[in-house]
Point group: D2
Chain length 289, copies 4
C-alpha cells in the first residue's frame, strides 16, 4: 500500500450481483488490479435459494470512475452482472416522511448532523406540523399537509412524488409516518423506501402492535426496519431489535420502551442503505456489514 501513498486516490464501493459460477472472484479482483486498486473491505455471499452470487468491495485506487468502469466492464458483461459503483461516504439524498412522533426523526437528524449518518436530507414531509421546530433547528426544510380524506392523502403523495423528482431522491425514509402508502406509491419507490414498524415482524402486523403485544403477553417487544412494498408489513426485512419487558408494563409503557428500539433500528437500516450494504435476494436482504 505504501506505493499508493504518494498518489491521490479515491475510495470506491462496488456491488456486483450475478448468477453464481466459478471464477468470479478472480475475474473481479483482476479488474481491480488492472484499475490499480487495493481491496480494503470485501464481503461475498452465494445464495443457495436463488443461485445468485453477491459481492461488495471497497477499493482504494488512483483511478477515476472512467478507468474503473472500463476495467470492470468486460467482467460485468461476461458474468452478466448487475453493478453499482459509488464513492465511499457520499451522502445519499434522503426524503423523510413523518407524522407527529419525533423520536425517529430526531435520531436521524442528530446523527446526520453529528456526521454519523452519510445522508443529505433536503426535505421532511409530514402530515402533522408538530415537528416543524425540531426539523428547522437542523436547518432542514419542513412541509406539513394534513391528511383528512382521500383527496388530501392523494395530494400528500403527489407532493412526495414531486419532491422525489425535484431533489433527485435516492431514499425515502418513513420515520414513523403513520399513513399507509398507496400501492402505486409503494411500487414507484420499490427498493428505495424504508419503513420502521413498531413490532418484531412477522408478529403484530398492522395497527397498534404494542396493544397487540400486551394482549398476547410477549416477553420481548421489538422493531423492524423493512423495505416498503405494497404488501403491508411484508417487505424485505433489513434490521430488527428487541428489548425485554415484563407483565407489569401496560400498552402505553410498551410504546415508550419501544421507541428506543425503533430509533436505533431505523437509523441502522438507513446507514446500511447509505453505505450500499443492503442487497436484495428475492424477498430477503443481504446485509454486508
Amino acid at each position: 500500500m505504501n506505493s499508493l501513498a504518494a498518489v491521490p486516490h479515491h475510495h470506491w464501493v462496488i456491488s456486483l450481483v450475478c448468477p453464481d459460477q466459478p471464477g468470479i472472484v478472480h475475474a473481479v479482483s483482476g479488474a481491480i488490479v488492472a484499475a490499480r486498486g487495493n481491496i480494503t473491505e470485501s464481503q461475498q455471499f452465494s445464495s443457495a435459494d436463488t443461485g445468485r452470487f453477491f459481492i461488495r468491495l471497497q477499493v482504494e485506487s488512483p483511478a477515476d470512475r472512467a478507468e474503473l468502469e472500463a476495467a470492470l466492464a468486460p467482467v460485468i458483461a461476461c458474468y452478466d452482472m448487475h453493478a453499482t459503483i459509488d464513492v465511499v461516504g457520499r451522502p445519499v439524498r434522503t426524503l423523510v416522511l413523518a407524522s407527529s412522533a419525533g423520536h425517529c426523526v430526531n435520531d436521524l437528524l442528530f446523527r446526520q448532523h453529528a456526521g454519523a449518518l452519510p445522508v443529505e436530507i433536503p426535505l421532511v414531509l409530514s402530515n402533522h406540523s408538530s415537528l416543524r421546530d425540531l426539523v428547522g433547528f437542523y436547518g432542514v426544510p419542513f412541509e406539513s399537509y394534513p391528511i383528512t380524506d382521500a383527496a388530501s392523502k392523494a395530494a400528500f403523495e403527489a407532493r412526495v412524488i414531486e419532491a422525489v423528482e425535484e431533489h433527485d431522491i435516492e431514499l425515502v425514509v418513513l420515520a414513523r409516518y403513520m399513513r399507509i402508502l398507496s400501492p402505486e406509491l409503494c411500487e414507484r419507490l420499490e427498493g428505495r423506501a424504508i419503513n420502521i414498524h413498531h413490532s418484531f415482524l412477522p408478529g403484530f402486523k398492522g395497527a397498534n402492535p404494542y396493544k397487540q403485544a400486551h394482549a398476547r403477553g410477549v416477553k420481548l417487544i421489538g422493531a423492524t426496519a423493512h423495505f416498503v412494498t405494497s404488501d403491508l408489513d411484508e417487505g424485505p426485512i433489513i434490521e430488527q431489535n428487541v428489548v425485554r419487558v415484563d407483565h407489569s408494563r401496560n400498552p402505553a409503557e410498551l410504546v415508550a420502551i419501544g421507541q428506543d428500539e425503533e430509533s436505533r433500528t431505523l437509523s441502522q437500516a438507513v446507514k446500511w442503505f447509505a453505505e450500499n450494504r443492503i442487497l436484495l435476494d428475492g424477498a430477503r436482504t443481504i446485509i454486508f456489514q
Copy 2:
C-alpha cells in the same frame, strides 16, 4: 431475624390471587406476623386488565403448615383469594415428553442432576427410542412408543394420562415432543403443561418455523416457552429468547443455532414453574422473578 435463629423453621412460598382492593398487603402481612413469619421475598402486581391482585411471598417461620394455614384462613376468606402454600425448593413431580431431539431433555436432566432445577422426573415418555441411553444415564425410567397412526397416538396419550395419575404428576414438559396433543389432553393438562416452540411467537406458528424464518429473512430467531392449550401455539407465553442471525444461514443452520435458545428458554420456564413464580392473568402470565 436473630430471634428466629435458635428455632428450627420452615421456608414457605405463598401465592395469593384476589380481586384488587385497598388493605390486602396489610391483611396478608398481619397473618404472616401472626404465624411468626419473616418475609424474605415479596412481589406483587395489580392487573389493570382484569382488576385482580397477585402476591407471592417467601416466608421463614417456625410455624408448621397447620399454623400457617390457620393464620391465613381469615384473610383468604375475607378477600376471596385463590391461595397456594408450598415449601420453598420442594421438587415438583414432572413428566417429560420427548421425540428424537435430545438437546432440551439433556439440558433438563443435567440441570436437575446438578441441583439447579427443583424437579423430580419419574419418567420420560417418547415416541422415539433414540434418547433411551441419555435418559437412562441419569437414572430416569424411559418408555418409548412409536406413533404411526391415530390408534398409536391415542395409545400414547392414554399412557400419558396414566403416568400423570400413577406418579401424581404436577407438571408435564413437552421437551421438543413433536406431536400435537389432542384437544382432550390439552384441556386435561391445562395450566400444568409447558411446551417449547422453536420460534419467537406469535411469528411462525405451526410446523417448520426455522424454514419459515429463513424464507421471511428475519434477523433474529427465537424460542418461546408457553402453556399448552388446545389452541395450537396460542397458550400463555412464559419466556422468550432470541439470537441474532444473518442472511448467510440456511434453515439447517438456523435449527442448530436455535437449539441453545430452546434449551435455556424451556429450562427457565420449568424452573419458574417449579418455584411457583408463574401466575395466570387471563391469557397472560405474571412472572415473579
Copy 3:
C-alpha cells in the same frame, strides 16, 4: 379501588430503609391503610451484605403530605428508618455538565422535552461552547467556560457549586463531561451526581477506554452509569449495557458504536434516579424497577 375514585387523591412514592427485622411490611402497610392509601407498586429487598431492609412503595391516597407523614411517623421511629416521601412524577431539578460531545445531552433533552424523563433542567454548564445551539433549541440556559489550567478548572467548579445552590439542584448529570471533578466537589455531590463512563466497568477505567478496548480485543464494548465518588470510576454502578463488536472495528468506530449505549445507559440511570428507584446499599445500588 372504586371507593377512592370519587375523591381527589395523590400519588405518592415512599422509600424506607432500616435494619431488617420481622414485621416491617405489616407495620408499613398498616400506616398506609391508616392514611387511606392503596399500594399500586411495591418492591422490597433484604440485604444479606448489610443486614438492611429496603422498601419502595407507590401509594394512591386522598391524604395530603401531612396526613401521610403523621401516619408513617411512628413506624419510621420504631424501626429506625431513613424515609423519603415524594410525589410520583415530580420533575427533579437537574444540572447537566457537558463538554463537546452532544449525544448524551441531546438524548436527555429530547426525552425531557418529549415527556419521557421527569427532570427539569435549569442549566447546562460546559467547558466547550459547541453545544450552545442544541441546548438553546430546547430553551435551556447554557453557559460555557473553557478549562485550560488549574485556575479555570477551579472557577468552573465554583460555578457548578453556585448553580447547584442557585437552582436548588437535586441531581448533577455528567453527560460526557470530560474533566475529572475535584475530590472536594465529588464529596459535596455524593449520592446526587451521576456520570457515564464509556466502558463496561470495572474494565478500562481512566482515559481512552475504547482505545484500551481495541488493544485488548474485547468482543463486547459497553457503557456504565455510576454515582460519582472521589475514587475515579469506582462509584456505585447504576446501569450498564454492552454491544457486540468484532475485530474489524478500529478505535474510532468503537467510539461511534459506543455512543448509543452511553446515551441510553445514562438516560436510564437519570430516569431511575428521578423516579426514586435507586437506593444505596454500601457500594452497591438497589434498583427498584
Copy 4:
C-alpha cells in the same frame, strides 16, 4: 457449479496470513481457479494495527491436497504467507481438562455427540473424580489425579504433555479446570489451549470473579473464552457473553446464572477453533464467522 456436480470433490478450508499489499486476492483466487476450485465462503481482513492481511476461504474442488498445494505454492512464496490448508469438518483432536464442575464438559460432550461440534475427544483429564460417570456415558476415557501439592501438580501436567503427544492433540480445552497452568505448560500449548474465565474480562481477573462482581455491584455478569498464555487471564480473547443480573442476586446465584454463559461461550470458541475461524493478530483474535 453444475459442471462440478458429476466429479467427486473436496471441501477445503484455507487460511492465509501475510503482509498486506495490493493484488493478494487476485493472486489467491487465481490459484483457486487453477486448482479447479469454487469459493463457497470467503472472509478477509486487513489489520491497521499490524499491517498484515488475513484471508480465510472455503473452496470446493475436485483437486486433491497435492494439486491444491501446488497451485497455491507460488502465491504463498511470493507474498510470504503463513498458510494452513485443511478439510472442512475434519474433527480436531481435543484434550479436555476439567475439575469438579460439569456444565462445560457436559455441554462440549453433548454437542460433540450430537454432531454439532467438529472435535474428537480421546481423553478427559481431571484433578477430581466427580465427572467420571458423565464422561464415561459419552464413551470418552477419563483419568483423574488429585492435585494436592507441587509434586502432584507437576505430575498432572506431565500427564497432560504426555497425552498431548500420545493422541496428537491439536487443541487443549480448559473446561473450568481450576488450577493455574505452569508457565512452561502455557508456553508449550501457546495458540492451542483455550480457557473459559467466569467473568467479563478484563474485569475481575483471578479467583472468585462472581464474588468480586457481587461486591462491585455490576449489572451484567459474563464469561470470556481466551487463549491460554503464561500471563494469567490476559491471553487473546476469543468470545464473550454477558447476562443481566440485579441487586437481589447473591454470589452463589451469580455462579449458577453464569454457568450458562460459560458453557455456550466455551463451546462457541471451541467450534470456531475447530473450523479454523480464529486467527491471531498480535494480542487480538480475528474471528471469521
